[in-house]
């Protein structure tokens, strides 16, 4: 399979995806629009499951939403393993629970009141949340039902009123299920369940991990779980005992954990009451720090800021102290949020999935990239997948699975798409250094500004005076070619033609008065008679009609062979008056030597 092509240049290398910026940054590594996945960002994870640095994708799939729930593991582009989950999964995390070699992480799937822990992809342990106290009235009702002392309809009514008293969240799952059944199903349900002891259990709403005592990437981590009973538990990674239990005023829905359990940590939770609370090491009660404008739909942390996506299409950033730093307004609803932590480049950003199928990447409040997906994204994760460090997993509402890889040459810097001052504004101009001369001059100007100004003014006046004097003398001697005298308004121009020794001198004379004709004029010339000989040294000018141009000519012969030239003055005179009316001075060109043939 060889090709010995001709030498035409390879054009196909320049791909057609140059025009849209989002394609420039991402390579499309895999796409399966019919993968049939139903999951959320909190239920997917990327981990080195086999400790072979080939990272797998783990998905807690909600199946149809009622059945067919599964834990799915993808190796590269193919499904590697799947295993059924009994109830709806709410969260999935991977964590190291021991220090054994090889360093294979465990997988924890939260579902109902349980956490299923898998090691080497085999079920390893099932953790159950500690049971809660059952409402005494509810217990009594079921006891009576067990002994057939009350009718199921009475039971239902009583439970209903108990629920309406405001203790809905305090009822057992059995009672709640019973209340939600159709009347004809009640009998069967009650007869099946009434003999079992009544237990009240809470369910897990969110889950995170927290390194125990070391910050290494593969250090042992504790599970941190939020529950419907408004509690946050920290579990020991090996024994699965409760290490810490903290209470919240509301039900946690999003959780973000930072720090080390044995040293110092901070757990930030967004709750169903529209507030964000912080829990610290040693604190039993949460501190409310942020009151949101709308319900939270996502919570991420980068460094010292907490970024919350809200139901009112905004993404708001707060400091850890609870001070609002900025708000980004989004065009549609947020479907999911996730952190993009590109460690190799030290780049951290927040990715926001929108209902219109866009995934936007914000570096702080600046939009740096947009990925357009065929469908709204419900789950996404950026991290190492397979052997690729900068892979982005996207799972859409329609169940599609897409894998994108950030190009090695991709650059997010300097690509701020939000309006603002142009970058050119902050470019420094290359102004040369001040020379000593410049500095000296400046100092001199500063010291003697007054005298410099006076000197300048003095010279300026002198110049004006000289100009005025020259003008006056020119007027007096009628040296100018335009006569401004009211009696003889004339205009004179003269030119020389030829290269010598014979020249022709042309004199143009015009009466520029509007109506008065000029009479009795003469044209004479003043010249060095050792140099030039004129054919007509004196021309009598007839009456000059105003406005017309009169042309007089005379031949000039250069009689010197020394190659020098002189000027010839042209005078227009009034008969009987020796002062010329106007004068023109003609600089004669140097004459060419006479060629004797």
């Amino acid at each position: 399979m060889s090709s010995h092509g001709d030498s035409s240049l390879d054009k196909s290398g320049q791909k057609d995806d140059e025009e849209s910026p989002e394609k420039n940054l991402w390579l499309s590594a895999h796409q399966d629009p019919v993968a049939g996945l139903y999951t959320f960002s909190t239920s997917i994870s990327l981990a080195d499951l086999n400790a072979d640095s080939d990272h797998k994708l783990l998905v807690a799939d909600l199946g149809t939403g009622t059945f067919d729930m599964k834990l799915k593991v993808f190796k590269g582009t193919s499904l590697f393993m799947e295993s059924a989950i009994i109830d709806l999964p709410t969260a999935l995390v991977t964590f190291y629970m021991d220090t054994n070699d090889p360093r294979t992480p465990a997988v924890a799937v939260a579902s109902g009141p349980f956490i299923y822990v898998y090691k080497n992809l085999r079920p390893y342990f099932k953790f159950t949340l500690p049971p809660l106290e059952v409402n005494a009235v509810e217990q009594d009702l079921w006891n009576q039902a067990k002994e057939d002392k009350i009718d199921i309809h009475v039971l239902r009514e009583m439970l209903e009123s108990l629920k309406n008293e405001g203790s809905e969240g305090l009822l057992t799952v059995r009672s709640l299920k019973f209340l939600s059944l159709e009347p004809e199903e009640l009998e069967a349900f009650a007869s099946v369940h009434k003999h079992a002891p009544l237990k009240r259990q809470t369910v897990i709403t969110c889950m995170g991990t927290m390194k125990k005592s070391m910050a290494d990437d593969d250090a042992v981590s504790c599970l941190v779980i939020g529950t419907e009973s408004k509690d946050v538990f920290v579990l020991d990674p090996e024994a699965f005992t409760v290490l810490a239990r903290m209470n919240l005023p509301s039900v946690p829905v999003f959780i973000s954990v930072n720090g080390l359990f044995d040293v110092e940590f901070r757990i930030v939770v967004a709750c169903r009451d529209g507030k964000v609370y912080t829990l610290k090491r040693g604190s039993k009660i949460a501190k409310a720090c942020i009151e949101l404008g709308a319900q939270a739909v996502g919570l991420e942390r980068t460094g010292k800021s907490i970024i919350v996506g809200c139901m009112d299409n905004t993404m708001v950033c707060y400091s850890t102290k609870g001070k609002k730093l900025w708000t980004v307004y989004l065009p549609t609803n947020i479907t999911t949020m996730s952190l993009m932590d590109h460690k190799a480049r030290g780049f951290k950003a927040v990715m926001v999935g929108l209902n219109n199928g866009e995934v936007r990447i914000y570096k702080e409040k600046y939009l740096v990239n947009t990925i357009k997906m065929p469908d709204a994204v419900t789950a996404m994760k950026f991290g190492r997948f397979g052997r690729e460090d900068s892979a982005l997993i996207l799972i859409t509402k329609g169940g599609g699975l897409y894998v994108k890889i950030l190009k090695r040459t991709a650059n997010f810097e300097g690509k701020d798409l939000t309006p603002g001052p142009p970058p050119a504004q902050s470019i420094k101009l290359n102004v040369p250094k001040k020379t000593k001369l410049f500095v000296d001059q400046t100092l001199r100007e500063r010291d003697s500004a007054g005298s410099m100004h006076r000197m300048f003014q003095h010279d300026l006046y002198l110049l004006r005076l000289m100009a005025a004097r020259a003008y006056v003398s020119a007027l007096q001697k009628s040296l100018n070619p335009i006569s401004s005298s009211t009696t003889e308004p004339l205009k004179l121009s003269a030119q020389v033609q030829g290269i010598g020794p014979a020249f022709k001198l042309t004199v143009n004379l015009q009466n520029i008065s509007s109506s008065v004709p000029s009479t009795n004029l003469l044209i004479t010339f003043q010249f060095d008679d050792s140099l030039y000989a004129l054919s007509k040294p004196c021309i009598t000018v007839p009456l000059l009609v105003p406005g017309l141009m009169y042309t007089y000519e005379t031949l000039v012969e250069c009689i010197s062979d020394k190659g020098i030239s002189d000027f010839i003055k042209v005078f227009v005179l009034h008969k009987g008056n020796s002062i010329p009316v106007i004068t023109a001075v003609i600089n004669m060109p140097v004459s060419e030597a006479l060629v004797i043939v």
Partner: protein, 184 residues
């Protein structure tokens, strides 16, 4: 080259020297392939990911190859281009079982082909579709489709399946490369 050298070359007394650049993504098997091409006694058993690059030499019947075995890790890939100028041939190793990263390999190939030192030159490129023994491995035909090799018009290229662990397919590739260099 002096007349004597030329004569020696024709008579096969003196072997031609050849600079070859070996590139490809990390873990594709570049070092393993080069290791297998070396004489038995100088082969190593444990191959670790290359840091930066290493220079290796091996011989075919008529040529002395000097191979620059580059590291394929993302952070070292920007070293590749420094050796484009001196490269008289390129060996591009693909991990045919890594379907996910075929696009990344294609991207790196495109960058290579568009590079000013390579674009206009008739540098022969040998592709190894390595790890043919893996069960999820793509065939050389599939690899060349995914890599868009048909679009390479101004360079001779060749792709062959290989297994760097057993050595299968390697001589096929090296023979092709030797032919190319003798032709030029």
């Amino acid at each position: 080259m002096g007349l004597f050298d030329k004569l020696a070359g024709w008579l096969g007394l003196k072997k031609k020297e050849m600079n070859v650049l070996c590139i490809g993504l990390d873990n594709s098997g570049k070092t393993s392939i080069i290791n297998k091409l070396k004489p038995d006694k100088s082969q190593t058993q444990d191959i670790v990911p290359t840091v930066g690059f290493t220079v290796e030499k091996f011989m075919s019947q008529s040529l002395n190859f000097t191979v620059f075995d580059m590291s394929g890790q993302g952070r070292y890939r920007n070293l590749w281009e420094h050796y484009y100028k001196t490269a008289q041939a390129v060996i591009f190793v693909l991990d045919s079982s890594d379907r996910l990263r075929m696009v990344v390999a294609k991207e790196e190939l495109d960058i290579l082909l568009q590079h000013s030192e390579i674009a206009a030159r008739r540098v022969p490129i040998l592709f190894f579709a390595n790890k043919m023994d893996c069960k999820e491995a793509l065939s050389p035909v599939q690899c060349s489709q995914k890599m868009g090799l048909d679009a390479i018009l101004n360079k001779p290229w060749h792709i062959c399946a290989s297994n760097a662990l057993s050595g299968e397919g390697l001589t096929d590739g090296v023979d092709w490369l030797t032919d190319q260099i003798r032709l030029s």
